[in-house]
Symmetry: C2
Subunit: 246 residues, 2 copies
């Protein structure tokens, strides 16, 4: 039995990276749960930020920011960056975190965070007291210690990213792997194809293109897909040197 | 030692809800990792969706969609909804999932998903091949089996939400609680206050307002904050009957 809870700003789970904006001389950092990727052409994040925030002033001024994924061992530091404000505290000193120069933006990275995105603001959309900032991801960095053997993919267990749970206000880590994406669902697909052999062949869409149209965006856009037909489909972006579907 | 990976559309972790758009007579569903909350005034989600997607046609037509959080036990069904397309397969029949009537939108909910958001499209922003859809969350639903004793907060272990990991393309569950948000960082704050007693009092910002300005948005906007000063500050929204900071 479902219960109506009214309008709610809770989705599960949320990431909890540190956002940094400013320069090596003066930059603010805060913890943000309202951020995610929304496009791969070009790679773009959407960040919802209250317009009264100290960091928002920096983002308006510099036009860029970094997104720094914190491992669970930094939960205390991340939480401190949420509780304190850069208006009257030096959060770098207070947290013990350090700046690291970025490659393509003025805003520094958080040295202690092993995965970092450099983002350049492209569009702003006002939504009530918030500004939704759409920013292009122009560079990404990963510490060698969190890279898989291929040197291109993040070893998620080594990264051990902090996860934010709205409502009950908890930080959590990730649990064990449940299943491989783009694989585990194939069993249902095969069952379905067997169950409806009468489906008109003329309505069939080439499976590679079809799969690309409906897979979760992240993986579709620039990563190899083991397609059941073996048909090669063009990749949507050329990011990360993964230019062809398998 | 950090390694540059180039522009990347990967952030860790990502949610993996099912998005449904259409009517009870004809609705499409797909798995989306590129979605999150971005505002609480009003509660708003940002969803990045490829313009060629079948579901996008429905969203354009109906102007609304539901966001349905799947538990890990539905990983196979979610993955199937990513692999198949509504253009030539009935994904409801293929997945075994069922529609449930929504309260305030035409698009149905996924009955088997114990947490659902009803969203009405407010703005669209083109970003390359993608459309970023900003949609107001007009209603939310939770199955009684996933509610905490207060009846207002989701018991995250009961919900057991599916998590998507980009790059390595895995579905995961959540791990154990690492720390309480808005609590664990206070230790650093107290240390800092002791360390800089010479901070000019005239620059001090009232702590309640200050904390509200810098906490992760989710929790700030409508949930009680145990503020170290005990000062009451007005909540930013009146959602979920949590109208005052403690």
């Amino acid at each position: 039995m479902k219960k109506r809870l009214g309008p709610s700003e809770r989705l599960f789970p949320m990431p909890c990276p540190l956002i940094v904006s400013g320069t090596l001389q003066e930059a603010n950092l805060f913890a943000a749960a309202w951020v995610n990727v929304v496009s791969s052409t070009p790679p773009t994040v959407a960040l919802g930020i209250r317009k009264t925030r100290h960091t928002f002033e920096y983002i308006q001024k510099t036009g860029d920011f970094s997104v720094n994924v914190a491992p669970t061992r930094l939960a205390t530091q991340v939480d401190y960056c949420g509780l304190a404000t850069g208006r009257n505290e030096d959060k770098w000193a207070g947290s013990g975190l350090h700046m690291q120069d970025a490659d393509s933006i003025s805003s520094p990275l958080v040295a202690e965070c092993p995965y970092n995105l450099e983002c350049v603001v492209k569009e702003r959309v006002e939504v009530g007291d918030y500004m939704v900032v759409l920013a292009e991801i122009v560079e990404s960095h990963a510490d060698e210690s969190i890279l898989s053997e291929d040197g291109k993919t993040v070893d998620i267990e080594a990264l051990d990213p902090l996860v934010y749970i709205a409502g009950s206000r908890q930080y959590r880590g990730l649990g064990p792997k449940v299943a491989d994406a783009f694989k585990v669902g194939k069993s249902l697909r095969e069952e379905r194809v067997e169950a409806v052999p009468e489906m008109p062949a003329t309505e069939a869409v080439p499976v590679a293109e079809d799969a690309a149209a409906e897979l979760p965006d992240t993986a579709v856009s620039s990563e190899p897909v083991t397609d059941p037909t073996g048909v090669e489909a063009p990749a949507q972006t050329a990011g990360n040197d993964e230019s062809l579907f398998e």
